[in-house]
Amino acid sequence: MACQIASLCDTRLMDDTREDKEANVSVAGRVLAQFVGALAEDKDLVEVAARLKPVLLDGKTITEAALRQALLGEPGT
């Protein structure tokens, strides 16, 4: 559990001291990373955060199917 939280918090670029890295991420990306980080702070939502992280932060278009699958932990079709 602790490792997952640490891994998720690493994506919270507002806390990242490397300015270049922060600048390379879009504003929306930064906000989404904050969201994933906020989920990860709730122990009941750590797994949800881990599943949502790649869907929201990989820069691809976010689809309803992918989001639902990640949010609810439903198997992919």
């Binding site: 879009s26 504003v27 929306a28 906000v31 939502l45 949800v48 309803e64 949010l71």
Partner: protein, 824 residues
């Protein structure tokens, strides 16, 4: 991000073939309107993004990049319209080339085509906001709050956040909807279980009592408790003569009785009266059915009020007076609110009838199985037909609208009822005729059917619980998302606001050094108010001049870009964005761009040659970092004025005998340089309330300042006993006075009322000496070695020396202390 080394433009927009070397430095494109400046801006945008925003998007009508991007002479050959850019990529310390033609605009040729370089070009393509025109700059400042929120969110590329928000809400709503049928199934399965076990409540104690009574008949050990995996028929398999019964008589009788009751409930007198009452209610609603349909539009009307910009309906753009618009929409919402209440009342009346209809298929389902498994099977079709019909009617009634459909299903008797009733009677008789089970067989059937229904109930409970968890989870995640996003956006706007305030103060430090601004996000809008000299906060267009508004637009854009790109803000095209900024603030704008964004390459377009010179003198541009267009021809494109300074430009006008143009340019230029000289030398200009200083104000002040400085320099040299220096200064002063005197041969420049008339009358030979005199005067305001204008070095309140950039000129103004003391 990138910087542009050079651009070649071929057969593109109004340009036939033009190469511009920008050298990854700030660069200006200057020329009168219609000479081809925008062609370069369009080419930069097209080369880097494949798009020309001037020809695409909202409000562009029939314009398209494909059809109108190529030069008009080759519009059927878009493959010949080519833009080639050589760029430097600071983060990679590499250079690369991108070639794009209009025919295959989405497939540029990149060299070298390596992943890191492709990524750099992809990044630029994703940020077309690097190009900014005045039309765009003003929209951030003067647009309505709702529109501004959209514009700024688009610039900051926040649409992904809204998409995610909408998807999370959709998923949350879907999860809640999916819960309802599972809840019904859970209730239904619990009723089936209780009926099978002959109990009235699903409690551990009552269930155990009923089950253990039957198990006792079969000599099975009593169950101590019922857990998730407990089988109430545990041990039954080990008993002799355990055979599965196809139709458990006792259970079948109970099920037939329940189904008969349910069927009767549908056709009972009570049900008939309830149907009649519901029909009256629905008929009463018929007159207002349109409003009932519109109930779903309430959310839209609510949004319309939120997005109303005090001028136009946000949906159809019809102009409205604010009070009238709000009154109309509020009245509509009130009607809808009333309609929603009426619908809710009607649905309450309908609900028990629909419940009855929905219950029946669940009860008829096992009966069909019994009918098929009897020793003499019975065709269950009548039951199936009844199930289908009541399910159809329940679905229509739940949907509610259109009312005619719901009224129809209530008005019409269910013709399948009679056949179903007959079949139930027939089935009851057949079941009754089955041999009576022994007590042990009955107990065995009880436990077998009970276990089946217990399992079905467990499954229903599990499915419902899982769905409920999902619904709660989806709602919780949506709430966290909303809170996080709202807070993040608020923080973003606060950061942008602070950056904007700092930038604007920098360019207006003379009169608005304590300027404040407020960006206030609220319900999809973004309010923007600015402080007006401490008199309160107002919309930017309320009291600030157009020039100040231009400055605000630029500062807001720069603040947003800094926030959006951070260290990657290395390139921006400012297309005539500062046309209204007055001369007094241009210096500060140049200084801001140069000092606050030292790593950003700005490409600036202007039709104002003086503005260009200002950019040069402020060192925003290097002397060669500009291209000046003189004119444009449809067949040849823009004509460039290479390496021609203002004096050559004026000389050219004289050669062409365009004296009016030459005089205009001279005056324009002299106003600029005289202001510059006065500023550098401390010239005193009589205050003008309107702040519009003209040549007659500025030039005498500059000349007066220079004369005073020569006098001071001579006095200082005298005090030091440096006779040679005194003589040298005397010679310089005489030369300066002579040059000033030469300019007096035509006094036209002093009085604008006179000189405008004089222009029309001046001939080439009359005007050439005027130009020569001022050219010489300009020389004497500058250093003979480096050409830079002279400036005063100050210490505290005193003037210490007159110097130039290369220090070749150094006129000491400080007198010997003793002399100075005696002088007092």
């Amino acid at each position: 991000m990138i910087k542009v080394e050079s651009i070649r433009i071929q057969e593109f927009r109004g340009i036939r073939d033009l190469t511009v070397g920008l050298a990854s430095k700030n660069y200006a494109v200057c020329g009168p309107n219609g000479t081809g400046k925008s062609g370069i801006v369009d080419a930069l945008e097209f080369g880097l993004t494949g798009n020309i925003s001037r020809l695409s998007g909202k409000g562009r009508g029939d314009l398209s990049v494909k059809e109108h991007g190529p030069h008009v002479s080759i519009r059927t050959k878009p493959e010949k319209a080519i833009v080639t850019l050589v760029v430097s990529i600071p983060s990679l310390s590499k250079t690369a080339t991108i070639v794009r033609n209009i025919k295959t605009s989405r497939a540029p040729v990149i060299t070298p085509n390596t992943p890191d370089i492709r990524a750099a070009f992809d990044y630029v393509e994703q940020h077309p906001e690097f190009a900014l025109s005045r039309r765009e700059i003003i929209k951030y400042v003067l647009t309505e709050p709702g529109e501004r929120a959209k514009e700024l969110q688009a610039l900051l590329q926040l649409d992904k956040l809204e998409t995610t928000r909408a998807l999370l809400l959709k998923i949350s709503n879907a999860c809640t909807r999916e819960l309802k049928p599972l809840d019904s199934a859970r209730v239904s399965s619990s009723e089936n279980l209780m009926r099978a076990l002959g109990i009235t409540e699903l409690q551990q104690a009552s269930l155990l009592a009923a089950v253990n009574a039957q198990r006792a008949i079969l000599d099975l050990r009593p169950l101590g408790k019922i857990e998730d995996s407990t089988s109430i028929r545990d041990g039954l398999e080990t008993q002799d003569a355990v055979v599965s019964v196809k139709v458990p008589k006792a259970q079948a009788k109970k099920d037939i009785a329940a189904a008969t009751d349910a069927l009767s409930a549908i056709v009972s007198i009570d049900a008939m009266q309830a149907r009649a009452a519901a029909l009256v209610t629905l008929q009463n609603l018929k007159d207002n059915e349109a409003r009932l349909t519109d109930v779903t539009r309430d959310a839209m009307l609510k949004a319309a009020l939120e997005f109303f910009d005090e001028q136009q309906c946000p949906v159809c753009q019809t102009p409205w007076k604010p009070d009238e618009f709000r009154a109309v929409v509020t009245a509509q919402r009130k009607l809808l609110e009333e309609a929603a209440r009426e619908r809710e009342e009607a649905e309450k009346v309908l609900s028990p009838l629909i419940d009855n209809l929905e219950t029946l298929p669940e009860l008829l389902s096992p009966l069909a199985s019994y009918a098929r498994n009897l020793p003499s099977p019975i065709d269950p079709e009548a039951l199936n037909a009844m199930s289908q019909e009541v399910s159809r009617r329940a679905r229509i009634a739940r949907t509610f609208l259109p009312l005619d459909d719901t009224i129809n299903v209530l008005e019409r008797d269910i013709t399948e009822t009679k056949a179903a009733e007959n079949l139930l009677v027939q089935l009851a008789a057949a079941v009754e005729a089955l041999p009576e089970a022994s007590a042990r067989d009955a107990a065995r059937d009880y436990l077998t059917v009970g276990q089946e229904r217990l399992e079905a109930w467990r499954q229903a409970v599990l499915k419902h619980a899982a769905a409920k968890r999902k619904a709660e989870l989806a709602e919780q995640v949506y709430t966290v998302y909303g809170d996080t996003c709202d807070k993040a956006l608020e923080d973003i706007y606060k950061d942008v606001e602070a950056e904007f305030r700092a930038l604007y103060r920098t360019i207006n430090k003379d009169d608005e050094s304590t300027f404040e601004a407020q960006l206030t996000p609220s319900l999809g809008k973004l309010g923007f108010e600015v402080d007006f000299y401490g008199k309160g906060f107002f919309p930017p267009g309320a009291y600030h001049s157009e020039g100040h508004q231009d400055g605000m637009g630029l500062c807001l854009y720069l603040a947003l870009m800094k926030h959006l790109l951070g260290g990657r803000f290395t390139f921006a095209v400012l297309d005539d964005v500062l046309m209204s900024v007055d001369a007094g603030h241009r210096r500060e704008v140049c200084s801001l761009l140069k000092t606050a964004f030292p790593n950003t390459q700005f490409v600036l377009t202007t039709h104002d040659n003086v503005w260009l010179n200002h950019m040069r003198s402020s060192k925003l541009l290097e002397s060669k970092s500009a291209i000046t267009f003189r004119k444009w021809h449809v067949d040849h494109g823009p004509s460039e004025w290479k390496d021609i300074d203002v004096w050559e430009e004026i000389d050219n006008f004289i050669v062409l005998n365009e004296i009016r143009a030459a005089a205009s340019q001279l005056r324009h230029y002299l106003e600029y340089v005289a202001a510059e000289w006065s500023d550098r030398l401390g010239g005193r200009v009589e205050y003008r309330g309107d702040g519009r200083y003209e040549l007659g104000d500025l030039l005498p002040a500059a000349i007066g300042a220079m004369n005073d400085l020569y006098k001071k320099a001579k006095a200082a040299a005298q005090s030091w006993g440096d006779k040679a220096r005194v003589d040298e200064l005397g010679t310089l002063h005489d030369a300066f006075s002579g040059a000033v005197g030469a300019t007096y041969i035509e006094r036209w420049q002093i009085n604008p009322a006179i000189h405008y008339n004089e222009w029309a009358n001046l001939r080439r030979e009359d005007f050439a000496p005027v130009v020569a005199a001022y050219k010489e005067l300009e020389h004497l305001f500058g250093c003979p070695a480096c050409g830079d204008p002279l400036y005063v070095v100050r210490t505290g309140m005193g003037k210490e020396a007159v110097r130039c950039a290369c220090s070749k000129v150094n006129l000491n103004l400080k007198v010997r202390l003793k002399e100075a003391t005696l002088g007092r």
